[in-house]
Structure formats: C-alpha cells, structure tokens
C-alpha cells in the first residue's frame, strides 16, 4: 500500500455510477493509507456497489486470484471494479480481470526507502498521479520505456519495444486492453497529459514514525 491518497472526490464519486465492485487493500497499511476516508466513501455509496472485498496484499497475484474467485458473482454483476490500493495492486487486478474496466481510487506517492514487499511483474513508480484510469490498468510510466503519457512513440516493431526487444510495447498492450473493454475512445480524448514532477519532489507526504 505504501503511501496513497484518494483521488479527487468528484472523480471517485463518478466511479460509483458504474455500479462497481470494490477492492480495498490493507496490506502495508502501516505505512499510510486513507483507510477511514475509503470506508466512509464506501458506506456513503453502499447501495451503489455490488460488493466489496477487504483484502491484504492485493499485489500478490496468486492471492488475489483466489479472492476474485470468491467474489466472482458480484464482480460479474458489476459495471467495473474500483481498487483502493497502490498502483501495483490496481495493475494486478486489471490483469486478472482483463475484460473489466478496472479503476484506481488512489494516487500512489513516492516513499523514501520503501519499495514494496515482494518481487512483482508490475511496477509502480509512485508518481503521485496515477494514470491507470486512462490506460486500462496498465501503467504508461513503467510499461513504456520512455514513460510516454500520450500514446505510442512509433518505435515498436512487431509489438516489441525499440529499447528492449524482450519487452512488449506498453502502449500496444494499453491499446489492446482498452479495445477489449471497449474503452479505446479514452485514447481519443482531447486532453494532453503532462507529468507534474512536484508530486515526487516537494509534494510527497512526510511519514512521521
């Protein structure tokens, strides 16, 4: 969980229109997680969700798989899945629920000296402005070698990255995932994304022991 903050209230409230299923992770909560705020949000919107799973270490794919099986009916009935966790947790759920719209409820902030608890296929750079809601749950900062926010660079060959041919082109994965969930129009949005590096420099929360 590292350090997370809830995304803008307005954005999160709009998620409930989907009639979603909610995952709330409380692994590594010893660090910092707006748990009470999330609980309040869920309580306020109780009748708008198909169910909730409170789990720890959502980032562990094999555990999450089991959780998902337990709540598969509620997930099936939902119009999407909202995940309150760090960026890794969201990406794991998005991978396991390829055909669902998976949304991040939090931004993950940079935390000195804390890099998660286990080796992961997915990476979260703790950029403090989670982009997973634009990109189908695949992180453009870590899955794209150039960390591009506005689409593929055009350097991929046969789906592989120009920097490392062993690596898939992150943007082709994003495009395919969005297409699968019928949300490729997100990429057509008239919006130019520019990173705000203050989030990892001057705006990162200070954790007091």
């Amino acid at each position: 969980m590292l350090i997370t903050k809830l995304k803008d209230r307005e954005e999160i409230i709009s998620f409930f229109d989907l009639r979603p299923f909610v995952f709330k992770c409380f692994g590594c909560k010893e660090v910092y997680f707006p748990e009470e705020e999330v609980d309040r949000l869920i309580e306020d919107n109780r009748n708008k969700i198909t169910g909730i799973a409170r789990v720890d270490y959502l980032c562990r794919e094999e555990f999450s798989k089991v959780y998902i099986e337990k709540v598969s009916l509620e997930i099936e009935r939902s119009g999407g899945v909202v995940v309150f966790s760090c960026g890794v947790g969201v990406q794991v759920i998005a991978k396991l629920l390829e055909e669902k719209k998976v949304l991040a409820g939090c931004d993950t902030y940079y935390l000195n000296g804390f890099q998660g608890l286990s080796v992961q296929d997915f990476n979260c750079q703790q950029c403090g402005e989670c982009y997973l809601n634009y990109t189908g749950g695949i992180c453009p900062i870590t899955a794209c070698s150039k960390g591009l926010l506005n689409g593929p660079c055009g350097g991929a060959k046969n789906g592989k990255c120009e920097v490392n041919p062993e690596m898939d082109c992150g943007w082709e994965l994003i495009y395919k995932r969005l297409k699968k969930i019928g949300k490729e129009e997100i990429l057509k949005k008239k919006k130019v994304l520019v990173r705000d590096y203050r989030r990892i420099i001057t705006e990162k929360p200070v954790v007091k022991e």
């Binding site: 130019v192 994304l193 520019v194």
Partner: protein, 291 residues
Amino acid sequence: MTRLKEALESKKFVVTGEIGPPKGVNVESCLEEAEKYLKGKVAAVNVTDIQSAVMRVGSLAISKKLLEMDIEPVFQMTCRDRNRLALESDLLSAYVLGIRNVLALTGDYVTLGDHPQSKPVFDLDSVSLLKAMKDLESGKDLAGNELDGAPSFFKGAVVTPCADPLEPQVMKMEKKIFAGAEFFQTQAVYDIGLFEKFIKEVSHLKVPILAGIVLLKSAGMAKFMNENVSGVFVPDELIKEMSVPKEDRRKKSVEIAARLIKQMKDMCQGVHLMPLGWDKEVPNVIESAGL
C-alpha cells in the same frame, strides 16, 4: 507565413528535403550539399535533431546556417535530451533566430545511439511539445507564466502510416492535431496499398500530409529495415528490383522513388525526401517524378 506553409496552402504538390548535421565541427560539406542539391528544388529542408541518438552538431545551429543561405529550415526537435525548460527556451531561441517551421518528435531512445550511458529525459513527448509551442504562441509558457513577446511557428509532427496496428497511430495523430500540429511528414512509405489505406483512415483530418520517401540503397538495406525499423515495410518486389549490380543501384533507387511519388501524388499533399547521404540524387528523383 513560412514558404512551406504558403506552398502547402497554394495546393501545389510540395517537396521537402532533409539533412543530418555532422558529428564534429566540419559542417561545410553538409551545407554545400544543401546548397547544391536542395536549394531552390525543395520548399524546405528538415534538419534532424541528434538523429538516431548519435551525438552531433545541433539542429538549431544548422537550421540557422540554412537560413543564412536562404534555405528555409524545418527545425526538428526531440524530447530525448532536454526537459521542458530547455525545450521551451530553445523554441524561443529558434524564433529569435528567425526559424519558424518546427517538427516535434519524441525521439529515439538513448541506448540506440552512441551515448548509451546517458540519462533519457522524455519530460515531454511529441504531443506535449506541440502543446508547449501552442502555449508559447498564446503568450504563456507551459507552466502558465506570461511571456514578454510571443513567438509563432508552423508546427509539424510525424506519423507512421504503414504501422501495424494502425489505429493507435491514427489516434495519436488526432491527439497531435488537437495539441497544435498543422502538417505531417511520415515515416518511409514503400507499400502504396498500405499508404492508401492510411489515407482513407485519416481522410477526416484536414491537415496536409507529406509522404516519407527514403532512398533504398540496396536490397540488404531494405531487408534490414523490414526486420528492424518500426512501421517500415518494403515489399518483396522492390527488394528484388534493388538486387542489381552495385553500379546500377543509384539509378534503380531513383527510379523506385520517382515511381512511388507518382503513385502517391493524388493521395497526399507532398513528399518528404530523406536521401540518407545520397543528397546528390534528390534533383534526379524530383525530375524523374515529373515534379
């Protein structure tokens, strides 16, 4: 208004050329070639920006040199080496030096070039660089601060028309237009069928497109591009055609380029010639294509 913009607005079929600055300070031969083979024959000349991430003389300096020679440059800018402060500052500098055409690119990754140890920047990308230009034109920088005097540019971008899948390319092209792109130059085209398909896909976008023509130098080069260069597809027939004795290759290459131009002439607004060192052949290509 730049000559390039004027030419495109006049609905003439427009030709642009390209030069790559040298690695080292001996710029004379590169400028001489531009004078001899490009001046008066093309509407504008692109100057590549640390092409292939191989360190060399900058695009800004050579663009200015071209201006002094009365050749209109297209100042290429990549996002690989500079953060937004440096990019915006260089844009202002370019304007002050009289440079008006700017082409925004993301740029090859540093590990592909000759300084693989260096730090990759990519603070902005091709889309946000276009936005930065548009913001500067409006009198404000990307952070919203007021400028004392706003520049004005003719803003270009690139697209890969033969990419597979094509849809993400089209989406990004739309994004570039939204961000401010006013013209497009494309990655090399060798397959007319694929190009025609692309042109149909983007027929709703009202921006001039200059199709990229890279002179084939040998059958081996064609095969290499097929295997390694993104979005470039040289059909087998062209590879066969290029399989001629070394002394006949230039002639064959010019013939193929001219034929491609003739085939594409009614589909787009011009061509962008990338001779990759064979600058001498540019006038021959233009003549053989009947332009």
